[in-house]
Symmetry: D2
Subunit: 439 residues, 4 copies
């Protein structure tokens, strides 16, 4: 049966098409800067939003109309697998991503839960082989079940820590089994509700211990996918330990975990932390840890994680700019739509419309960013602005030859001659607008 | 002459005194947990807010009525020194803190500027020797002058970098001269207005180079005060590089600067970064870098740095709790009032009232925090909550004996027996309220 | 059976009691400013948070351990009624408040739903008569069921509008039946997700039509309880129509509804709108529409409605100050705990601890506010500050005698003599702290 | 002399021009929906940002390089007039706007101040007649001078109220003299720092008295320009009385001022109040009070009024959409650039670049909005969504025929048949993106 009835595979029809079920900008085979759009993007569908969620929010029940809801238990789990591969086909998307609990229900014991999981993983593996679709990343849901009320790796309850370890061990086994290209740690409830009852030092030490165990186990079983951490500043906890890219880097450095991890950065998490998405990407890029992205957008006038499908072309353009400049581009990562249709967009076709909107927005961002790179728009700006560090006293500073005494001597000579140049922000923004429209 | 006419030295009169010019809680010689209040606090007055500022804001001119405004140039600078030592006496405060440009005007060349500075530093040194007052920290203002429009150590202009180096070199000379117990780096304009014209990698590398030069120069001249960095997330720049404690730790680790720096944490900067003040203090404490505090408070419904005098007893209590638990307490740091009277509180006596308000609020915070420590309020909570990590599987996790396989084996046995305990947040908050009132 | 096993009725034991199951400040029979604390407060328990909620959040399942969860359907509804009256007894609270869907489940038709409701209302009426407990207010839940996905009175679907009308009609019948002292309209999903598909004018006109129908129907059936509107700025909608007190006043005035409505103000909604709680109360007070309060508090570093139990004594003090100054105090309204225990406080006893925390915090607020009123703390400040409007040109302004020409003539004479006085904010805040500790 | 040396008048060169000193989208004579772009826009330059400001911020001195800074006092004032008319010519902009204190310095008395003002007004009048340039609006600066520390019309000092009255009287005389098409009241310091020392009721009553006096005086002198109020929620005061459009409407209604005032809405003020710009415009439009706009944009990750030049095409498109749908379009109002070049954009040419950026962004917004209106994009959406209110029970609701009893009867029949339709937000956003690129 079909879960997205009467919807044909979406094709590129060009920017003026009035067919809502077509791509206006995403042309998978179009080559840009030496790679196809498909290769640049490595789009992925998020299982949780598109197959497990129902549109509920803290004030209301689910609204989503989904044909698979006629089933329950393992049958429901199987139906969702079918729906997932159907949507991958419709959207011509190569990758998907899931939490363990998205794909299979919990049983009454861990044994039973693992058995359900194994069964669905086997089914997914078959589907992958049959279709060529791939797993961008998997992860373990260690936040929904009440046992994780105080966290998983940062819980105050050692039994829960052990349970979480068992869960991730299994998830790594499945990552290997399915050839998952990455394995993601998202904070879930790793954080605190209040410092008043929290041993912050112990909890962070334990988190590091947990991650080292994961690294060790992956080595042991020969799983070679990339480990990723996904920063988020708040929600569900009042404070999430992986607050942002810089905080996560600080943690990884302190605990000697930096060689093993990259970051999976999400737009909405960036803005909740008070940063632009491009800031987080830039921080990751210059530290060599830009691993993958969770593509969505927040509403900056709202203070929670709205996980909207990304349609802001400014944001997608600057995100793609960072990815294009990253060594190896998005690498083994991808553009995963960690985005949910609005509760008011409850029909199955909205899931298709929403992905088209997101894919086209990123495709347009790629076009614009690539054109600006080809035209050396920002390179020219930087070359001019930082020219003083290429020679003379500036070169001495960069090379390490200068010190406070040589610099003071220089400054005493030159203090009356200092001339700055305008940063030209308004002109630059107008230029970006031109590229946005004209590219 | 007197700049705070008819105001006698403020004395402790107890919590029910109706004399506005008395301390209600700050009793300098009262011993708490083995030290006098004076020793715990090491209060400092901020030169910039209390002597150099005039109450202007982006929408209006200065309102402050200050007797020293009858002078100009170096005479004004000297009058302010007198006013500072008068206020230190009135408030019975031992420390003060300043930027170079607070205490002396700029000349037409760096040479002339340095000459003015030297003259005022000599005057201050005399005053210090005569009164026993001490310098908590000094720093260099590298943000007011237009030359720093694009930053100082992170400018795009090598000439400006050199100038900044010369300025800090001089400031370190003065730190040594005056026995300053710390030297502070506050970000000023070290940040960016937009990523669109910013070479983030180069700017951060240069910042690290600058700080290493400072470390080297301090060694060279034998200056042994503590180096401090003061995080702030935004303002004046859209993004400030020393965003918060964790970001600063990340930077210090990456560039091998961690051994040389501690943090000077400010309440209002914490909340602008989305954190509580106690969070920032805790992060610093568990990383061994809690150096000093800038005591003030923000208005969480406003989005800029309001630098209000601290009066929220919840915040001062939890701040003092972290300081009391810090190894060595506040150490060579202190409680510096980086706070300004409201523009509407423009009379000289308001400066006195405001400091009394702040000192009493911190004194009360100390009393309450100390009582909670004596009664082991939080210790008892933590002992119970984290008991499971003291023995059995929890002890194995902490000691490093456990791994994913042993933990899975344990979890498979115990997954049905997991029992969590309530975090009791509401009861804990009611308890804090009781201590606040009853201590 | 008991749902709060082994918990005796909570008694006042005074501020130094170490019994967590006692009131430290709330002494129901203590007379303050001519009324007992009980009369001032009119505390109410919110049915939804304490009996219908389960501790779930967008990232996790319910954690609450509740003895009534052994039941289902109507039996569950009946058990909750028992639990509610048990908790009212334990806490010695006189009032409760509910939405229709809190107390009874929905049936498969509106008829069946109403039948369930009628049955539970009859049970509640019996309990009320037997115990003397009273209904502070009731309301209709028009946001949980998917039919309200686009709003109720502001839906785009006339069938939904009709359904909502039927629901409120029934709720008003029940309000009359139970002698509910107020009837509340909380916005639910009356707002918009996006302006891009919203006819704002029609939706607001329809909301006004709906409220007029409610007024008419109440008259028709002789229901004389006070109508209340509860402002909230955002969540669940991106924009809620009753954004804050001023917006709601604007709406009521435009549609000639002001004579029939007062406001039910919530602390957390105030801060989400960018206001302090006391601001919203003050706006309501000076406009004669301060009707009732939903007592809770938000976390100003988080951007969603956390509905925490109120423990901030600054906020409860200033709230009680406004209520004490309101003509008739809280009137037919009350202090309703629209607050939920944290998801991490999942044991039944936490519900008791949390209400004690809230009741004591408001009781302490009452004590402090009353003492400041008795001592004329703020009256004295205002008398001095605004003295210039009591005579001379100021009196002419207030009485309407002055105009631009007379004022210009006055100003031309006096422009050089204008003298302002300090607002003394820091001193005032220190004074509030003293009252907080000493009252 | 020229203040913008070597800059020719900016011409439209089309969207692919690489000449930074050209318009890419603003083609003044292009007709769109029956009016020229020039007529739609009525662009204005803000005197304060472009001629009086110097790029200072709370952390630094002015950076702006301006040729007129060689002058002082009245000579400076005259030079700025020349500069203003030069920039109006360069940008081919027809309107400007000013505060009284922007155009002339204060003297030592009000008399002297008025004399300076009169002299400059006469000069401006001559220039206007010579060039055909027009005054969009003027206003009185009642916030910069220290006398306004506690507000102007809402001060606690009657002498200040009188002074403010005299100032506005003069400003209205000048409005008449110069044929100013509007007169604006912006809140300045009309608000409060703290409720603890504020008589909110008296202050708002006085504000209403002040505005009535202004209305009366305008009638008396026959000034017929439109009165505008400009909402802003916070800054410089903690709370500004004209918080947002709805709050201002509430105030105008309460005090019978609604017939005399419209709103001047600013993008950055909207977002500081937690609203989108288009929300504020829509609220004004459906209440018939959309008067004029202050065109700029804020940074939603910063909490203060950044007053950036508007370049976000989403915002300009939706703003122009509201203006196009407003009866009479922008009417006697205009698109006034209440925007400042960044402190880092300190060269004169940046002022030109910035205005080009803003004008092109609004021109593009106009093109896109007009195309969507021509294609009935949103009309079609609304027609479908709200169809149920056009007939049957929906028509009865709108016409006033329905009541709770007839609606209940209907609902009891139809409760099981309710069908909602998706709001299609993602598809709508994708459509907007298409129009943005393709128009």
């Amino acid at each position: 049966m079909s879960y997205f009835e009467n919807i044909q595979q979406i094709k590129y029809e060009g920017r003026t098409s009035t067919n809502p079920l077509s791509f206006k900008f995403y042309n998978p085979d179009q080559v840009i800067l030496g790679k196809t759009m498909r290769e640049h993007m490595r789009f992925a569908i998020a299982y949780w939003h598109s197959f497990s969620a129902n549109g509920s929010d803290p004030f209301g029940s689910g609204t989503a109309i989904r044909a698979w809801d006629q089933y329950a238990g393992l049958e429901l789990a199987k139906a969702r697998v079918d729906a997932c591969f159907e949507l991958l086909h419709i959207l011509d998307v190569d990758y998907f991503a899931f939490h363990d609990r998205d794909i299979a229900p919990e049983g009454s014991t861990l044994q039973e839960t693992n058995q359900y999981l194994d069964e669905i993983v086997a089914l997914i593996k078959d589907k992958m082989q049959a279709t060529g679709k791939k797993l961008l990343w998997n992860t373990a849901n260690m936040f929904t079940n009440p046992r994780f009320v105080h966290g998983a790796a940062t819980t105050n309850n050692a039994d829960v820590f052990a349970y979480a370890a068992a869960q991730v061990k299994k998830a790594l086994d499945h990552a290997k089994e399915l050839g998952s290209e990455n394995y993601v740690f998202w904070g879930g409830r790793e954080g605190y509700e209040t410092l008043l009852n929290t041993d912050l030092g112990l909890e962070l030490d334990n988190l590091a211990r947990f991650l080292h165990m994961a690294v060790d186990y992956a080595k042991e079983i020969g799983y070679t996918g990339q480990f990723l951490i996904e920063p988020k500043p708040k929600e569900p906890s009042k404070h999430q330990y992986d607050f942002d890219a810089a905080t996560t880097l600080s943690f990884l450095q302190k605990y000697d975990l930096l060689p093993y991890f990259k970051l999976n950065l999400e737009a909405n998490h960036a803005t909740l932390a008070g940063h632009t998405f491009e800031h987080e990407l830039r921080v990751a890029r210059i530290n060599g840890v830009l691993g993958s992205i969770d593509a969505n957008q927040g509403d900056l006038l709202l203070g929670w994680d709205t996980d909207e499908f990304p349609t802001d072309l400014y944001s997608t353009t600057l995100a793609m700019y960072e990815i294009l400049l990253n060594e190896g581009g998005i690498g083994s990562g991808g553009v995963n739509f960690d985005a949910k249709v609005r509760r008011t967009s409850f029909e199955p076709i909205d899931v298709v419309y929403a992905h088209i909107a997101g894919m086209d927005s990123f495709a347009r961002g790629l076009q614009v960013a690539a054109k600006m790179i080809e035209d050396r728009v920002f390179d020219n700006i930087l070359d001019t602005r930082y020219a003083s560090f290429k020679s003379g006293i500036g070169a001495d500073i960069v090379s390490g030859k200068a010190n406070f005494k040589t610099l003071e001597a220089y400054a005493l000579e030159n203090s009356h001659n200092i001339v700055n140049q305008s940063g030209r922000l308004e002109l630059i923004k107008a230029t970006v607008n031109q590229y946005l429209i004209n590219s």
